[in-house]
Amino acid sequence: MNDTQRLLLSGDEAIALGALHSGVQLGAGYPGTPSTEILEYFSELGGNAQWSPNEKVALEVAIGAAFGGGRALATMKHVGLNVAADPLFTAAYTGVSGGLVIISADDPGMASSQNEQDNRHYAVAAGVPMLEPSDSQEAYDFTRAAYELSERFHIPVMLRVTTRVCHSKTAVTPRPPLPPSQPHFTRDIKSRVMIPAYARPAHVKLRAKLKEIEQFNESSPLNVEIRGGSELGIISSGISYMHAREAAPGASFLKLSTTYPLPLQKIAAFARSVKRCVVVEEGDPYLVDAIRAAGVAVEGKPEMYRFGELNVARVRRILAGDTSPEPPKPAGKPPQLCDACPYRLVFQVIRKMDLIVAGDIGCYTLGVLSPFEAMDTCVCMGAAITVGLGLRKVLPPEQARRVISVIGDSTFVHSGITGVVDMAYNRPPTGHVVVILDNYTTAMTGRQEHPGTGRLLNHEPARKLVIEDICRAAGVDRVYVVEPRAGSDEFETRLRECLDSGETAVIVARRPCILLLKDLKKLEITNQPQNQSQAACECSCNQ
């Protein structure tokens, strides 16, 4: 390979290129840091990519594509896999005809997440093979390897990455692309219809398959042994391996890449070959517990290193058994709502009215910070509406009447719709008020499109989901659309009116994200003809 073929890519970009070179015919996902750029780059490269309303939808679409013999990619951040867990577990039983790779982009240290769950447990729990790359070259290579594995064993494969793999740029030398597969549906009812009678044998089959894959992984060239001294051996995976290589240059290494099912014979042989064997891993003690359960004596890390990301300095401490308090990191400046953000006006009103606010995931979560401090709960996407309903149902009436739910447009589509259905159906005695902050985009992750923007992932026009129509159709008593503007008290007036009514109400506070304004103009000019015809249609349909 000559030097001109080297590319400098982020892990996300490398996965996208790897997917393209694997002949992937469909990529689906929901934006979430640090996974977002995978589908964006895949689309830029000419791949067929779509933002789905949420991760469950994305994975199910991808499963369908793979049932049809195609190669499909589903991307999401770690908490997104919680949403998609339902199809994941059963797709392991059904298997796939084509290739299916699921990206779980974890966020140890919670740079932009509500928890730091370690999704390696998902591979074990669902029974899907997992690969863990440690840099962009491996992100590219392992994506291709994941499709090979998926098609060889007819099983979905999880590619587990973390923030420092996704958002680090390192060199990648690509290989010649593979031709796409030829999708074709072949009926196989017993494999794909998971009624208990067919699911019971499917589970047995899955476990047998995983045994086979375990043997396959024992001799996989992806698991690399680097011989150094025999005093210290380090078993590691993902980005932790890079920190460890630097922290202990003289040690011997077993770099695990197939981290489920684990090649336990290889691991045991490595552990025997060194005097002291330490497992260096970020997050939960997943590897060390599994290795010890197999009867191999290895050292793990002290509990204090379960929290946050690892780095070279922390790995040095782990290897030295140092559990003294770490030097505190100086506090940086937290992010805040942009100066001219329309949400600011909304939160000023909410703050003034001293309400109990069930919040959600997005830019507006920043409404919890000073000077607003106008958010009382934030659990997961969509939970604003349903947590608000729960509060309404148990609090004494004078407190219940002060509860509102605040959610964004993209999040409403993701998992807020079912909450609104619940509000209309299981109506709290005091009614409820939902404020939908519609800024025309998925702002927090970098302004991605969603069904409510009326544009596809690549910004081409699409049928637009009308939020207020959905709420009306669900049976909400009052539905209003207001524009939050300086000098206008329309939002406050409507909010008071809705709270006083004791009915179920949705207020859509609609004004574009200020970071979007320039792009929006361009997009609307480009997309005008389609918008006009759609507007004409909406007029007649909305009568």
Partner: protein, 164 residues
Amino acid sequence: MNAPVTSDLGVTNIVIAGLGGQGVLKASDILVDAIFPTGLEVKKSEVHGMSQRGGSVCSDIRFGRQVFSPMVPPGEADYLLVLAPDQVEVNRHLLKPDGVLIAPDSVDINRLPNKKALNVALLGRLSRYLEMIPLDNWRQALQRNFPPDLHAGNEQAFEFGRNS
């Protein structure tokens, strides 16, 4: 002007820090684009996601014969380039004792034609220390990272910083 002594593996560690919206990530993109064609191994690592909302942003760049971790260990940065005055103290612990700090006051911001190009001006200042990166690499990296109508302004800012 003395460059700090680099590590055994010849790894140079640079941290670029500032606030969201200041161009921290853009500056680090330009820097790695300038290093990449030298053939040295280069890695860049950052945490972004809320990067345009005024919070602290930090990007690590490491290059040399062989680089493993993409993150600069605290206290081991050879160069710390900070775009916001109030972020200097927050990030100072990343710099090694004989490391070089490049802060907004390293250039005369009032003479900078466009204050938005402070990130590029400070890169220009940094470029004086990084002799292994040919000037041509910097020019090409600047061109690759900006649309044509911004090329002249950014080249100017770079030269301004380099000569400060």
